[in-house]
């Protein structure tokens, strides 16, 4: 039997009962579409988490005050509540640790910010100009403050786009505007570019002021909330992290890690943790969608079994004329693979469309990857073979005479 004949037979068989073929295919379409869409949602989440973490800065180490939590220990004193990190620590890190390209100490707190009668409560970060480079802060307009501003405790501020939206919704040029933070007047130097992100952690809902200004007028203390460090080379991250820890141990007069009063966080660890969470999420979504694919496959098997029974006489005739068992098996196998293959193609289209619509109308970030498309193709063809095999084998084994007598 020629391949083209096989295709022709399949076409005739599937178009003879269009409604049934269509409904059976629908099961596969839904299965594949949900696999594609769910994996797209999962991978979209993964990608946006990774992007956000990357946007904080690359090769970044963050040193925060507070007790190191050993695994299993659930009670902590609250992050940043301790007053263990000082500006001298930051200077020492910059001076004594090799392989660092920038060090940016910072303090932060939430304050009421007022301008022109509008007011908002936002996070105010006091830091040094190096912060802009370390944390990937770029300017939309105006400029970041300089060392000179810090040296003379200038009351100047750089504001984030979210704060601008609250305080100066209609203004384009902010330079020179006045804002009041905690009752003290500051002059706006510039506006930072949008970084995205939302919720508490938004790097857009923030006001930057010089570190010494913040210490004097806002926090009234010498302790730092964080020291952000950029390591010059990815490969040196672990070394730098260890060096910083031992330096701080020494400076704080500590002897072992149980009593550490600071934490060094490695950005790549954060990325890894976050992506392992989203990977699990993707896997879970994929598994749920996979179940509907299996249900679709069972639908195929059901239809093929019905078809074999209905066409018993026909199969008997074909075998009586001289069709071999393998000809019959191929015919039914190609029929079920054709169903799943077509269902797969349509399903990929529908899944992709669903993902696109989700992004567009529900602003869920999605990402349809080639691998998930290839995977679904393979899986749907595989399902055709898997669930078509048993009915096809049953058809192939029919005895021609008994099949011809079948009523």
């Amino acid at each position: 039997m020629l391949f083209i004949d096989l295709i022709q037979e399949t076409y005739i068989a599937l178009t003879t009962n269009k409604v049934r073929s269509g409904l059976t295919m629908l099961g596969i379409v839904i299965g594949i579409a949900s696999v594609i869409a769910m994996i797209a949602v999962g991978q979209g989440a993964q990608k946006s988490v990774e992007d956000r973490i990357q946007s904080i800065g690359s090769n970044l180490l963050m040193i925060r005050p507070g007790a190191a939590r050993s695994p299993g220990q659930t009670v902590s004193q609250g992050q940043g509540s301790s007053t263990s990190l000082s500006l001298e620590d930051a200077d020492a890190i910059g001076r004594e640790i090799d392989g660092l390209s920038a060090v940016a100490p910072s303090v932060s707190g939430n304050y009421q910010v007022v301008a022109d009668g509008s007011n908002t409560r936002t996070s105010v970060t006091g830091t040094l100009p190096a912060y802009a480079a370390v944390r990937n802060v770029s300017m939309d307009s105006g400029s970041f403050f300089t060392e000179a501003h810090d040296a003379r405790r200038a009351k100047v501020a750089v504001i984030g786009p979210d704060v601008r939206d609250e305080l100066f919704p209609d203004e384009t040029d902010l330079t020179g505007k006045k804002i009041r933070i905690n009752g003290i007047d500051f002059t706006v130097l510039g506006l930072t570019a949008t970084k995205g992100g939302s919720g508490m952690d938004s790097s857009d809902d923030v006001v930057y002021v010089p570190l010494s200004t913040a210490m004097q007028y806002l926090t009234g203390s010498d302790s730092l909330s964080m020291i952000s460090v950029t390591v010059s080379d990815q490969a040196l991250m672990d070394q730098a992290s260890a060096d910083i820890s031992s330096l701080l141990f020494e400076r704080h007069g500590l002897s072992d890690s149980d009593t550490a009063d600071f934490r060094v966080m490695n950005q790549s660890d954060i990325v890894e943790t976050a992506s392992s969470v989203t990977e699990t999420f993707t896997l879970l979504l994929g598994a749920v969608a996979g179940i509907s694919l299996v249900v679709g496959g069972i639908g195929i098997m059901n239809m093929m079994l019905t078809t074999v029974t209905e066409r018993t006489r026909e199969i008997g005739l074909r075998k009586a004329i001289g069709a071999k068992g393998r000809d019959i098996r191929k015919q039914f196998l190609v029929e079920s693979v054709a169903l799943t293959f077509l269902g797969g193609v349509v399903g990929i289209g529908v899944g992709w469309l669903t993902a696109t619509l989700l992004t567009k109308f529900a602003s869920v970030s999605t990402s349809v990857s080639t691998s998930s498309v290839v995977l679904s193709f393979g899986v749907s063809a595989g399902i055709g073979i898997l669930f078509g095999y048993y009915p096809a084998r049953r058809a192939a084994r029919l005895n021609p005479i008994e099949a011809l007598r079948y009523e």
Binding site: M1, R313, A320, I321, G322, R326, P400, I401, L404
Partner: protein, 232 residues
């Protein structure tokens, strides 16, 4: 060359036993034209199924071209059926909802004959049984009984098999069409030397054959040459 030795076929249905064939022995030379007659239920179709390699006897041996067919695999039997045997079933057995053309071509499809050649052969076979050309593309379930029978015969003839087995091929045909079909069988038999075995109830039809076998209760009760062979 067909040789049957002591062939029996017993159908068992629970406690019920039906002896459809009871020790039939005979042989058929290549190029013979044989008619099998006998009352209803005497085992003619059963015999035909055995000869056509569709069914195996309960006991006895069947040699086809000198080979004991009981040792052949399913695939080997299918191969012989497709290449050597043309079967006309008592109940036509056409593919439902399929065009006349495609029905006739079916054996060619499984034989792997190229497309272009297929329609040529199918048209030839349909012309031989005088099937009206206007209906070649009709679906098989839109035909009259006689038309179906002619399609079934065309299908059996299409790949010029060396052994034609026809179970009451003229049962649904009027005298004139019946004679036409017999003429087609006779022609194949005389011109190409193909063996024809046909079952019939009609003495008129049996008279085309060189030899007539009569079956009763699964046994061969008479087997003699036909002295006045009717010419086509």
């Amino acid at each position: 060359m067909i040789e049957c030795r002591n062939i029996s076929k017993i159908y068992r249905n629970g406690d019920n036993e039906t002896v459809a064939l009871d020790g039939a022995s005979f042989s058929v030379r290549d190029g013979e034209f044989l008619a099998i007659m006998g009352p209803s239920g005497s085992g003619k179709s059963t015999l035909m199924n055995v000869l056509g390699l569709l069914d195996s006897p309960s006991s006895g041996t069947y040699f086809l071209d000198g080979r004991d067919v009981s040792v052949l695999s399913e695939d080997e039997l299918a191969e012989i059926r497709i290449r050597k045997i043309g079967f006309v079933f008592q109940s036509f057995n056409l593919l439902p909802r399929t065009s006349v053309m495609r029905n006739v071509m079916l054996p060619l499809i499984y034989e792997g004959v190229p497309h272009a050649r297929r329609s040529e052969l199918a048209e030839e076979a349909l012309r031989a049984v005088e099937f009206p050309e206007s209906r070649w593309n009709h679906l098989s379930n839109q035909l009259s009984g006689g038309q179906m029978q002619r399609v079934a015969i065309a299908r059996a003839l299409v790949n010029a098999p060396s052994l034609i087995l026809a179970d009451e091929p003229t049962g649904n045909l009027d005298t004139k069409t019946g004679e036409l079909v017999m003429a087609a069988f006779r022609k194949l038999n005389l011109e190409k030397g193909h063996t024809v075995i046909l079952i019939t109830h009609e003495h008129d039809i049996a008279r085309y054959a060189d030899r007539i076998i009569t079956v009763r209760d699964g046994r061969i009760v008479s087997d003699f040459p036909n002295r006045d062979v009717r010419s086509a």
